[in-house]
Symmetry: C2
Subunit: 353 residues, 2 copies
């Protein structure tokens, strides 16, 4: 009776009544209970509550569970408890490399703590984002919003329902993870100043982007400190293409150094300037932002202010999971440091020609 018969719990000849699993049906705590000669509730306790049953019974049940190759049914568990061991991550654009490290960071942290990641994309739309968030809310234990586009109030409304952590934006009363741009920008501007630059052009990102505003502020502050003149140039969109389009405006400013809202803009800008015959960094220095994948593929490789995206994702996940598991502060902002990554696209200013 004790041999692990492979036929298991579903030995009935009638081919599976409800669950169309043609092979073996998954074992339930009832099967275990029968096999171990105890009550199902005891099995439930043995498997979830630590030390609620005697060591003897515990062993008995664990063996039976192992023998039947038992795995809890997450839905059955979720129904009465509301806990799903799942958390959501909503990003604006899956193909934007900025988010990839965030996704990875969150994914890894989640897996390590036995949580599953559910991913959704908002396609850069505030409406889609809110819809996705609402949909997810019923399914997950908590939510991470990376660079959300929706209103602060909507975010707070979601946060009232279940734990929410925001990345790359500061929302009052909601825990946030944001890169502190000051250090990185400071380093970048000091480096440029040290190389003799007098005027810096900042290529801004989307008008509604919270992060773009912070970066512009940071650039202004750092320039004041280092006695550089800072001018702002608007871009149509924060992509490689947007960077190409903005080249003309950048040149018009007469600046010898450029700091862009993100790396894609920097790459596009550099491509366009080089195509126009300008030498980087000899005639103009370019500094990007984020240090995305591929930032070092360019010639010269891109100098950039690194945003620790992976850390943001991991930090947000840690924060969220702490919240879910009862530890950790309810709100407050986690700041992660940015730093200058000095590569080839920035350097000494040369006399024209």
């Amino acid at each position: 009776m004790t041999e692990p018969k492979t036929q298991g719990p579903a030995a009935s000849p009638e081919t599976g009544k409800k669950p169309a699993r043609n092979g073996k049906a998954n074992a339930t705590i009832y099967d275990i209970a029968k096999l171990a000669g105890v009550n199902p509730s005891t099995v439930s306790r043995a498997l979830s509550k630590p030390g609620r049953v005697s060591a003897k019974t515990q062993k008995l049940i664990e063996d039976a569970a192992a023998q039947l190759n038992y795995q809890v049914n997450p839905f059955a568990r979720a129904l009465p408890t509301g806990r799903t061991n799942t958390f959501g991550l909503i990003v604006a654009d899956i193909t934007n490399p900025t988010f990839f490290d965030i996704i990875r960071g969150a994914q890894i942290t989640g897996t390590r703590r036995d949580y599953t990641l559910v991913l959704a994309e908002s396609a850069e739309s505030a409406v889609t984002e809110l819809t996705a968030a609402r949909r997810m809310m019923t399914t997950v234990d908590g939510l991470i919003l990376a660079s959300p586009r929706m209103d602060d109030d909507d975010i707070r409304a979601l946060a009232r329902d279940k734990p929410v952590v925001v990345i790359n934006r500061e929302v009052e009363d909601v825990p946030c993870v944001i890169p502190d741009v000051r250090k990185g920008i400071g380093e970048a501007v000091r480096s440029l100043a040290g190389n003799g630059h007098k005027k810096l052009a900042f290529v801004a990102g989307p008008a509604r982007s919270w992060m773009s505003a912070r970066r512009w502020e940071g650039a202004q502050a750092a320039c004041e400190w280092s006695h550089l003149e800072a001018v702002r140039v608007e871009s149509s969109k924060p992509t490689v293409d947007g960077g190409r389009q903005v080249a003309r405006d950048v040149l018009a400013t007469g600046a010898t150094a450029v700091l862009t809202y993100n790396d894609l803009l920097a790459i596009g800008l550099m491509q366009e300037l080089q195509a126009g015959g300008m030498a980087v960094p000899d005639q103009i220095s370019i500094v990007g932002f984020d240090d995305i994948f591929g930032a070092d593929f360019t010639t010269p490789p891109l100098t950039t202010v690194r945003s620790p995206l992976g850390e943001c994702g991991a930090g947000a996940a840690t924060r969220l999971l702490d919240l879910l598991q009862g530890s950790g502060e309810p709100a407050g902002t986690l700041r992660v440091e940015t730093e200058l990554v000095l590569r080839g696209s920035s350097g000494r200013v040369f006399p024209a020609g």
Copy 2:
């Protein structure tokens, strides 16, 4: 009585007994039933089975549902039915840009058909992969494996349980989506031959990679056809770094053209060769594979054989969802076309010097 009072169904003063939702608890079909004056099961039918209840009752129930802001509880639904409207995607490495587009393609297709994507990573390990797959199996309706590392048999075992679709590998009896490399490689080799190249070095990928084998076969066949000599060079790992390391071996072959297993290898190789003073493409032509994000950031931009990764992801998701919804063939392989993307890193062979 008919006004939509915002206090909703949970007006009881005792602060939430089980569901810790401090605000309003979610409405259930029982609430709807009470409000509409029908039986809960009627509500269930009205909301899922089309035309099982009279138009009159239908309307009544829908109004009540709207009024209560009802949303089904996915777990409660999943428990008896087994359906979750969810599918899993397992990739070897989240940070590998090859998978970016696959993830996106699958995500978008899924969302469009009202399915949610659950993402997991195997960290390039066959064991982790199988574990993740097994875990997921209990939660999702079906699974997509992108470039799986596990054994064919393990994959088939999973496929016996629930629908599985494989990307970038062919597994018998399991539906697969694979890029057909012949066309793209053919175009690449013809282009090189047309530019006067006589000898092509192929930089191979991981020894166990199914795809690497296909690409090498394709290169050999195309070279034979175009009267080029093909030589194979092994790489330590399919990354930028691996590409740098293999530069010496590539030069040793004396080939004037190189085709690499993937773009990362090509980029690393190009960086190393350029650092050593070689001109690309004047002294050596380099062609990558996949056309990943960033392949055009290099100088010169990388010529590459594009693998329609997004299409693969979308195709796999479509396939899987068709399977889940009853339409579509049970197995068989979907082939997507590859094509040459001619950029600056390949061209005419010049006399040495």
